[in-house]
Amino acid sequence: MKKLSKHLAFFLILPLCIACSSRVQNPRFVINEVLVINEQNYVDDYGQRSGWIEIFNNTAKTQDLGGLFLTNDRSNPRKYPIPKGDVLTKLAPHQHVLFWANNKPYQGTFYISFELNPDAENYIALYDESGTKLIDEVTIPKGQLPDVSWGYKTDGVKFNREGANMLAVLEKVTPSTNNYTLDKNEKVERFKHQDKFGASMTITSMLVVFLALVLLYIVFKLVGKGSVGLNKRKKEKDTTVTEGVKPETNEIPGEVLSAIFMALHEEQSDVHDFEHTILTFNKINRNYSPWSSKIYGLRQTPRK
């Protein structure tokens, strides 16, 4: 059993350690969709058309874009500082915002200080407040067609499970809205179609439940053994110090104690189950008034 425990521990903990390897994470803000040449597409608040960049809050919390930097220049990460203090830069979970690349930053928070180049490759990056740490970057290749945007098919999913970059031409241009419209819970749909009998869910879940509890079993088996060993050594030490004194062996086992307490509990519950209700008037002599008693105005001494 001891050997088995050790082997099990090895085989169970090893995959966990391997799983700790560096899996590519999707950024917290994703440059979600970019349109370089805008001829017939979305119009800004001034009635003008220009290229735009859509940023997506890829987390389940509200995040502020204020203070971050947008740039199209690798050597100048602080090219357009997104103004602080504008409530509109606060992005709700999994929501989008559009920045117009028209080189007219005086028009407002969402009009940035550079344009997208229709004849060359466009590098776009988002930097953090310090302007040194890259949050997300994207490179839109040269030779863009008018009114065709690039982005990620599923919002915020820049890297797939294998770590491959998912940037591609999108079927539809979807400024400030989801690149992929969700009308159903995909996870539920997947289980509905691929696991009609629930076998996959059952097997996976039972395996994980067992794995979690087997891990606990192994750890506490080992901890228990260590603790018992420690106690033994301590006892041995004690007996050598107090040689000649017999250790007490008449301890009451735990289950007997619990049975006694349960019996007592049930007995007491029975005793108090049904009682005749009798209303009486008893004269009570009080030498003091409880209303003015000091005890009600004092806190109990806190216990450790």
């Binding site: 819970n185 039972m206 979690a212 079993y217 289950e255």
Partner: protein, 386 residues
Amino acid sequence: MGNFIDFLIDNLTTFFNNTGFANVESGHVIMILFGILFIFLAIRYEFEPLLLVPIGFGILVGNIPFDLSANLEIGVYEEGSVLNILYQGVEKGWYPPLIFLGIGAMTDFSALIANPKLILVGAACQFGIFGAYIIALQLGFEPNEAASIGIIGGADGPTAIFLTSKLAPHLLGAVAISAYSYMALIPILQPPFMRLLTTKKEKLIRMKSARVVSQSEKIIFPVVGLLMTAFLVPSGLPLLGMLFFGNLLKESGVTRRLAETARGPMVDIVTILLGLMVGVSTQATTFLTAASVKIFLLGALAFSIATCAGVLFVKFFNLFLKEGNKINPLIGNAGVSAVPGSARMSQIVGLEYDSTNHLLMHAMGPNVAGVIGSAVAAGLMLGFLY
């Protein structure tokens, strides 16, 4: 004078139209009778009174008919009403983790630590959840609904509410009522399966008395328990985190006041609110459906499967254990997480066959393992389907 009388009659008509008598439907009456039945069962037979009294009374509160078009903002589903604000704890799922904090602060895991192999019984009983999940799928429920129904088999009210509030909020009332009702009915549901699936010889198995667990082990348990389970199933974090945190408060020895508050006033307050609001949420218009009846039946099935799985797993496990180390299969039922009701059942049925064989302490091991197991299972399903 004529105008005054017209006005008076008009006023009285408005008043009557606002009363419950003018708006009552058969569904309300049925639900009110259910509420009275729950209160009766709780007081007369002491079936989980701490839960059934608030739930039963909540059913009465939730089914007082009123004119919905009057815009009185009193109904549980009317945004901004007092009941709606209190219902947020159920709807958003923050009452259950608070209950788990209290459970952690009142649960002694030493039976489990002393005999860790009993943890596996707690894992086996979770098959009840997935057995019911499979059957619910076949009855036409969507996977998210089936998961919410299956979790009733975990015999853990807060977990069931937590998962259902996320996966299938429209089934919340039925699932919650079903989970708590069956927890109350454990003395009726479990013993027949326990007796049926075990031989006379197995029922008489005496288990070794558990060793004394050191304080250090008790302190290590919540920390390691959290790390092991939450790393594996992060989606179960709200429940597991609170459960183990509560237990650390209890066992650390230096936070006695916090532990006492968590297992005393705090858990009492949340239990009152949770129970009452679960009851209130069963408005006849949303609750009395064919789906609710199916959920009730599937809930009973889930409990039965969980009980059988636990007992049969112990029998199977015994094949690999040496004589003297064998486990009495009568504690297999305790792997469902209804603490301590199902462990008490092991003790009672065990005593029927040997009046000196006390199984309570041994059954507490799988019982508390069941709490962890069902929280892990709920976290898994949440991860898969939410």
